[in-house]
């Protein structure tokens, strides 16, 4: 595991040894995180890993107990007002007034950002148009769909073109369509120079959106790198083949690949693949040519669970992973 040097001049976010306790529970236990300006940085972790805690600390909503936390060059504890002028926040729960209309919301936030009444109104209209909400601006936000609400929330986060944007699990609870909407909106921001910190439980989401990913577990960073780096750590995609007849397992395994593992009880062969679709086609053809009947053939991405098991095993030998083996 290697963390980027924490003194990079081009860092938009610097977190060094951040600690936060809630009573006995350590939400952050010496978290380190550096996010370079103009990049999308994913923070990946299971529930309770400390993702929301760090976002709330960065957004000045929560005070950390110890450690150094800076956003856009300002310390979040001693200069919260300077930080607030430079950030936008999209939290897990829609941070908009559900009783008001979309335009009323954006205009209100614009006034509170001190744009002045006229400019606040203009900015509200611009953002509604940009996020495809222009015709729903007067409807109460409570009646919006989940994806629309999240887009309005995102629009509210962008009123002053923030230098740093926090997206805390932006698609949790959304259907695939809503997820695609939010992903599209986030992609459209990238390239505008905004630094984005994105937390997520979904490997796929981090993969789609992030330049770099920090994997967080139990309040600490356990790995950092590009999505490809992390996938390599886990071992990449696998192909699973289930045969009709277990007697052909060994013959089929030889066809599927050199590192194939067999499971006689489930009549299954599993092998790592590098070239997904080509591997699938090759396996189907090879089995057909050999006259071996397959019940099911599927490509499988490593799951988040596998990433975690792998990473926690690597960073904390002798901890719970070993106990599980004994049990």
């Amino acid at each position: 595991m290697s963390l980027t040097g924490a003194h990079a001049d081009d860092a938009a976010i610097v977190v060094e040894g951040a600690q936060k306790r809630y009573g006995q529970k350590r939400a952050l236990d010496g978290l380190d995180l550096v996010v370079r300006r103009g990049t999308v940085h994913g923070v990946l972790g299971p529930n309770g890993a400390g993702k929301t805690t760090i976002v709330r600390i960065l957004a000045t909503l929560l005070r950390h107990d110890a450690g150094r936390v800076e956003v856009a060059g300002y310390d979040v504890r001693s200069r919260p007002a300077e930080v607030r002028r430079r950030i936008g926040l999209l939290g897990q729960h829609a941070a908009v007034d559900e009783e008001l209309g979309g335009r009323q919301n954006l205009e209100m936030f614009g006034r509170l950002y001190h744009l002045g009444a006229r400019r606040a109104g203009e900015r509200a209209d611009e953002l509604l148009a940009r996020f495809g909400l222009a015709d729903t601006g007067s409807k109460a936000v409570g009646k919006y769909s989940g994806g629309m609400r999240r887009r309005l929330d995102l629009a509210a986060s962008l009123i002053t073109d923030p230098q740093v944007l926090f997206l805390d699990e932006p698609t949790t609870g959304l259907d695939p369509r809503g997820r695609a909407e939010v992903w599209g909106a986030v992609r459209s921001l990238v390239g505008g120079g905004t630094t984005v910190l994105l937390t997520t439980q979904y490997l796929e989401e981090a993969d789609q959106l992030a330049d770099r990913i920090t994997v967080v577990d139990r309040g600490r960073a356990v790995a950092e790198g590009t999505p490809d780096d992390l996938k390599r750590t886990v071992g990449g995609d696998r192909i699973d083949v289930v045969l009709r007849d277990a007697r052909h397992l060994d013959a089929a395994a030889a066809l599927v690949g050199p590192d194939a593992e067999t499971d006689a009880y489930r009549r299954r062969i599993s092998a790592p693949v590098a070239d997904r679709m080509a591997a699938l086609a090759r396996t189907v053809r090879a089995l057909e040519a050999a006259g071996i009947e397959a019940e099911d053939i599927a490509l499988r991405r490593p799951t988040l669970d596998e990433v975690f098991l792998h990473l926690t095993k690597e960073t904390e030998p002798g901890d719970f992973a070993d106990e599980e083996v004994v049990a």
Binding site: I87, L89, D97, F109, A140
Partner: protein, 263 residues
């Protein structure tokens, strides 16, 4: 604080007040129900239940000032409900992550609640007039009475904001909504303390609500709840001291609690 900061604090507070006014526009039924409820109570007690115990003179003349005071005290519930609902919404997080004056959230709540209560007073005074209640004092005494009533409401505002932040969840407000009734009735709003068992009458006289009700009756020249006790004779003083003490205690508590949302 610089003049500029004060200017923004005022502007932010006004924006937050406008937010509450916009809520009324979106939920007019809720507002109307809130305004009609005390009117209903007034008519029920004035005409269905009738004559208060130990009251000399016309009961409606006695009841209307009491109902005005009770309506101000019950404003506690409205404030608590609004604050707990607000704190449980994500929008508070957005306000707190913005470069606005953080206290504007509380000031907006305060101004909106005071406006609603002032509207409630006007309606109740109007209905009281329609059913035969008259004030007998001069215009200054009349304004003084309204001032005392709004002062009580202002005290209840900060008590409500603080309790709401302590309670945290809207369900907890229900407990308070039930508890305000005995506190409301353990007062001289509906009946004279002299008509109650001796020990109870003494407790009732010290209720801040009784102080305001009695002081307002004195200013309106309404029939008094015949009693010769220290709190009854100094109701005007108590009607100022009680709310001022409550504000002095609960305003700093509420502000401190709001500032500690980040812990």
């Amino acid at each position: 604080m610089s003049a500029n900061a004060v200017g923004w604090a005022v502007a932010d507070s006004w924006t937050m007040t406008r937010r509450e006014l916009a809520h009324w526009g979106r939920q007019p039924v809720q507002v109307v129900v809130g305004l009609v409820f005390p009117v209903m109570l007034l008519l029920m007690f004035g005409f269905l239940i009738g004559g208060g115990k130990g009251v000399q003179g016309d009961y409606v003349d006695f009841l209307v000032p009491g109902m005005l005071a009770l309506t101000m005290a019950f404003g506690l519930e409205a404030t608590m409900l609004a604050v707990t609902q607000d704190l449980n919404k994500g929008v508070i997080d957005r306000f707190r992550s913005m470069p606005m004056t953080s206290g504007a959230v509380l000031v907006g709540r305060a101004v909106a609640d005071m406006l609603q209560s002032a509207a409630g007073l006007v309606i109740l005074v109007g209905v009281g007039w329609a059913v035969g209640w008259r004030w007998h004092g001069g215009p200054l005494a009349f304004l003084g009475a309204l001032g005392l009533l709004l002062l009580l409401r202002f005290a209840m505002l900060w008590v409500g904001i603080h309790l709401a932040m302590v309670a945290g969840r809207p369900e907890m407000v229900q407990a308070v909504q039930i508890l305000v009734w005995p506190v409301g009735f353990l007062s001289s709003v509906f009946a004279a303390p002299a008509s109650m068992p001796d020990w109870l009458g003494r407790v009732v006289q010290w209720n801040p609500l009784s102080a305001t009700a009695t002081a307002v009756r004195d200013l309106f020249g309404s029939p008094a709840a015949a009693a010769s006790s220290w709190p009854a004779e100094h109701a005007g003083l108590l009607a100022v001291v009680w709310p001022v003490v409550l504000v002095a205690v609960f305003f700093p508590l509420a502000v401190r609690r709001f500032g500690r949302l980040n812990q």
